[in-house]
């Protein structure tokens, strides 16, 4: 093969290789994009956590059904029955549908991930409900501390306990609990 033929051949081989490289470029670059065209929620406001006793704070109703922040709510909602009221609200540009279920004694707020509702917060609204450990609105700070211990964080008027990706918050007024909430921790 003459040198000019060799050079010619090398040129076209290089061109073919370059073409192949560019053809491959888009998908390769795309793989760096962290996702496809389908919009995928990246909300990481909490790990998906099972209701593991001791690992998270969880709330229990009379039927025995329990729920913890970041739990998929479907089972609990079915067990809790018809709420007193229910509302839902779209986020800007309809990215996600947040929901609120009002039950006698407590209110549940949800957050969505890929169409599934998870517990964002469960908040007591009166003293008809209590934590599984027996604390309700109207209990004293001493009762809270003797029940849950001294491992809390004091934030403003609240004392907050953290366990896994959940928190249990008691808001106090004059040393008496006037609000209780279980929340997902970011």
């Amino acid at each position: 093969m003459s040198s000019s033929k060799i050079k010619n051949s090398i040129f076209w081989k290089a061109a073919a290789l370059l073409t192949a490289a560019i053809v491959c470029l888009v998908p390769v670059l795309a793989s760096c994009g962290g996702g496809g065209g389908e919009i995928v929620l990246t909300d990481d406001s909490g790990d998906e956590t099972d209701d593991v006793s001791g690992g998270v704070f969880s709330f229990k109703i009379a039927s025995g059904a329990s729920v913890a922040p970041n739990d998929n709510l479907a089972t609990f909602i079915a067990a809790a029955g018809q709420p007193v009221s229910y509302e839902e609200s779209n986020s800007c540009a309809y990215i996600g549908l947040d929901k609120v279920y009002v039950y006698s004694g407590y209110t549940i707020y949800t957050y969505p991930v890929n169409g599934v509702d998870y517990l964002l917060q469960l908040k007591f609204t009166d003293d008809s409900v209590s934590t599984p450990e027996g604390i309700s609105i109207g209990c004293t700070e001493e009762e809270v501390v003797s029940t849950y211990g001294r491992g809390f964080t004091k934030i403003g008027d609240s004392i907050v306990y953290y366990r896994g990706a959940t928190s249990l918050q008691f808001t106090l007024k004059s040393g008496v609990v006037n609000a209780v909430s279980y929340s997902a921790v970011e």
Binding site: S4, N8, F11, A15, L18, T19, I22, V26, P27, L29, A30, C32, G33, G34, G35, G36, G37, E38, I39, V40, L41, T42, D43, D44, S45, S85, E87, S89, N90, S91, C92, A93, Y94, I95, G96, D98, V100, V102, T107, Y109, L120, Q121, K123, T153, I155, G156, S158, V160, S167, Q169, T171, A179, S181, S183, E186
Partner: protein, 368 residues
């Protein structure tokens, strides 16, 4: 030999030239193909969600705005520049986007200063509460329409979520390559052009859904704003100060369980304004002065304003801009007025809005 050599030399040069031309053509064709593919695959936002079309529309307007509003959906659905212009002759633009984060606002402001120097900047207080990206979609809705610049890259860098690359904000095809599965007529129709969906950044919503909820918002353990928000609030304030721009903070009327504005936040914002010599206005506090009626002024139960509520807020705040910040009526043109091009743009904008509002009013009347 010599004569043969002399004949071959130009032949060799010709081959080299041909190769260079072939390579250049090849690269050009490839680049053109990628450009076309990208134009086809990126979302156009010419149907729902329109929110993603807002940011790019700023570049089509004549940059002669006395006031720039920076904020999220609360702003671009409650501040109506057509009303402020019609009533007070103050040229304003809403540089809003879905869940605009405070660093997006900062970079939007820096970018705005490349094109124009407003007399005042109004910042939406609600941005103080979110110090991290909640959904990548919001970043895309905010930044897809922003022109490529160091400001866009800086904003994107701040908002990158896990697995995202900065390159995908330069070459959106990286993000949207899989959209070929969902391409529709809109993608072909709007490959190289867009319709205008806003009124200088205002997205008109015409539905009516009364606010009836009495549900309280979720409780917070800590009501302090994220540090990064405080840092960027200072940056925006100082940027305004250094450029001789009046910095104004405004809280839009929304206060629901879904989008709450806590008393603690209100107090912090008021204190910040006093401490830093800036003005803070709350459309929640001023609801009776504005005439807010939550049975008619929202399209989604109180989270956002419809055009009726937006007109009220705009009249109220336009009067504040005129009376408390001495912003002049620029409708007359001539000395101190706007250019002919800008005046023509405002005339077209107000006509377009008047027609849309009349249509919405008629539709509401027919609906009963």
């Amino acid at each position: 030999m010599n004569s043969e050599g002399e004949r071959q030399r130009p032949k060799k040069g010709g081959k080299a030239k041909r190769r260079i031309i072939a390579a250049a053509v090849f690269l050009l064709v490839t680049a053109a193909l990628i450009f076309l593919l990208q134009a086809l695959l990126v979302p156009k936002y010419m149907s729902f969600p329109y929110d993603g079309a807002l940011v790019r529309e700023y570049y089509d307007s004549v940059p002669e705005h006395d006031v720039i509003f920076l904020g999220d959906c609360e702003f671009y659905e409650c501040v109506n520049p057509a009303v402020i212009w019609s009533e007070y002759g103050i040229p304003v633009y809403v540089r809003g986007s879905s869940q605009q984060l405070i660093w997006d606002s900062y970079y939007f402001l820096l970018e705005t200063l490349k094109y124009e120097k407003p007399k005042a900047v109004v910042f939406n207080a609600v941005e103080m509460k979110i110090g991290r990206v909640q959904h990548e979609e919001y970043t895309r809705l905010t930044l897809d329409g922003m022109r490529l610049s160091k400001y866009k890259l800086a904003a994107a860098k701040m908002s990158l979520t896990e697995g995202e690359s900065l390159a995908s904000y330069v070459f959106p095809i990286i993000r949207y390559h899989e959209r070929w599965k969902e391409l529709g007529e809109e993608d072909f129709r709007y490959m190289f052009r867009r319709d205008t969906v806003s009124y200088n950044g205002y997205l008109m919503m015409t539905g009516i859904r009364a606010k009836t909820s009495t549900v309280d918002p979720p409780a917070l353990a800590d009501y302090s704003f994220p540090d990064i928000c405080v840092e960027y609030l200072d940056r925006i304030r100082l940027l305004c100060r250094d450029n001789g721009i009046e910095f104004i903070i405004l809280k839009a009327p929304t206060d629901t369980w879904h989008y709450p504005w806590h008393d603690e936040w209100e107090a912090w914002m008021s204190d910040y304004a006093v401490a830093n010599g800036v003005r803070y206005y709350s459309a929640i506090r001023s609801a009776s002065e504005i005439g807010t009626d939550w049975t008619t002024d929202s399209y989604d139960g109180g989270d956002h304003m419809n055009y009726i509520g937006a007109e009220k807020v705009s009249r109220w705040f336009g009067a504040i801009l005129r009376d408390e910040f001495d912003l002049p009526d620029r409708r007359a043109g001539g000395e101190g007025g706007l250019s002919a091009g800008a005046l023509a743009e405002w005339a077209a904008l107000t006509d377009r809005y008047a027609a849309a509002a009349a249509e919405a009013g008629e539709a509401a009347e027919n609906a009963g």
